[in-house]
Amino acid sequence: MRHAVSYGSGLLAVAAVAAILLVSPVAVEAQLPDLSGATSTITGTLLGTTTVLNGTGTLVAGTSDALQSSDLAGSIPSLLMGEALHAVTIGYPDQIDSEASLAALALNVAGMSIGADAVMARALAVVGGAVGTSNITNLSINGVPIPVTGDPNQTVGLLGGVLVINEQQVLSDGTMVVNALHAIVSGVADVVVASAMAGLSGGNAQAVQASY
């Protein structure tokens, strides 16, 4: 994939630091999902302010309706910017489809710059099961490309925290929660970019949820 970034010497130094971070095991603060179906929760630090950009609200399971939210652009000052924010959840008697996305992500947390050209989370629940997927294009940290494996709950170490890619949680009732990107920096910020939920707990989608 093309990258418009040209790597200057300063950036190379940053890249070297980032590379060290990436190869160094960092304790994962998120309690990652137990895919056997046991309850899983994210234990990011509870911080002072929580902001949601383009959330659909919750659609009760079994409700035949469709909720949506969109915006040309969205931002949280000094933390995050994105474009074409989009969130939908569609309910059926026997199914829920939820989807959230944004483009041109620029997330700055604890001096680190996390970017992606496109980020999307989708969750689909049907009777007897649920699946989740994420689409993430050209993810980078401090300008260094981050390969996305496609596996659930891929982690990348951040200074003082962790970035979980394609985070998938299965709640106790089988509800699937997919967070395309979840950046947790202890005591600084807990940011979810593109979140989709589907299951007995209902349908919900959010372009961004940030505590800081």
């Binding site: 035949s64 469709a66 474009e83 074409a84 489809d97 989807e99 483009a103 496109a118 689909l124 689409n135």
Partner: protein, 196 residues
């Protein structure tokens, strides 16, 4: 890849036939998606889109939305109404996910930063997973002296309409099956398809 023009011709026939659209056996569904395309200039154009025959219930016409930013021209498009949702007749089922695939046209009105208020039509195609070959095209029109529409912006002549262009992907477009709230039929007015 089929161009928006040919799809428009089909849609125009549907519109011209009036009640013909409501005679289609395919029940009305939903299309949603987000990501980016790459213009022939090399610039990215980011979008988020949704559409359905379902009444929006919010005073903005049908259910749906459109957000679009072309970084090559600086164009911003923010939807104001959804006026039509049209089936291109290519609905199928993804053998991997068992979810529907196909092309839909979504029409509406929008505010832009370069042309003022416009009519628009989006041609969006879900080709199945993972979405790399999904298609997004957009056309904006305005009336000439209050009469027929003329195109003020379009991506339909670009060489590649797939999400992310030649790269490994750039979002996803998803067709969703109907639910009991989609009581309307495919159709509705689409001025962006009625050119001078």
């Amino acid at each position: 890849m089929r161009s928006l023009i040919s799809v428009c011709a089909i849609a125009a026939l549907v519109l011209a036939a009036g009640g013909f659209a409501s005679a289609w056996v395919s029940p009305c569904d939903f299309l949603t998606g987000g990501g980016f395309i790459i213009r022939d200039s090399g610039a990215k154009a980011n979008f988020g889109v949704g559409g359905s025959c379902k009444p929006g219930g919010d005073g903005h016409g049908l259910w749906g939305h459109l957000e679009y930013i072309d970084h090559g021209t600086g164009l911003n498009v923010h939807w104001t109404t959804i006026t039509a949702y049209l089936d291109d007749g290519d609905t199928a089922t993804d053998p991997k996910t068992h979810q529907p695939t196909g092309t839909r046209l979504i029409c509406g009105t929008a505010r832009t930063n370069q042309f003022g208020d416009v009519n628009w039509v989006v041609d969006a195609k879900d080709t199945g997973e993972p979405g790399d070959n999904d298609v997004f095209e957009i056309r904006l029109t305005q009336p000439v002296s209050g009469g027929p529409q003329h195109i003020v912006y379009t991506t339909e002549h670009d060489s590649d309409h797939t999400l992310g262009g030649p790269g490994p992907g750039g979002g996803n477009i998803q067709l969703h099956k109907p639910n009991p709230s989609t009581s309307g039929s495919f159709g509705g007015p689409c001025p962006a398809l009625t050119l001078s």
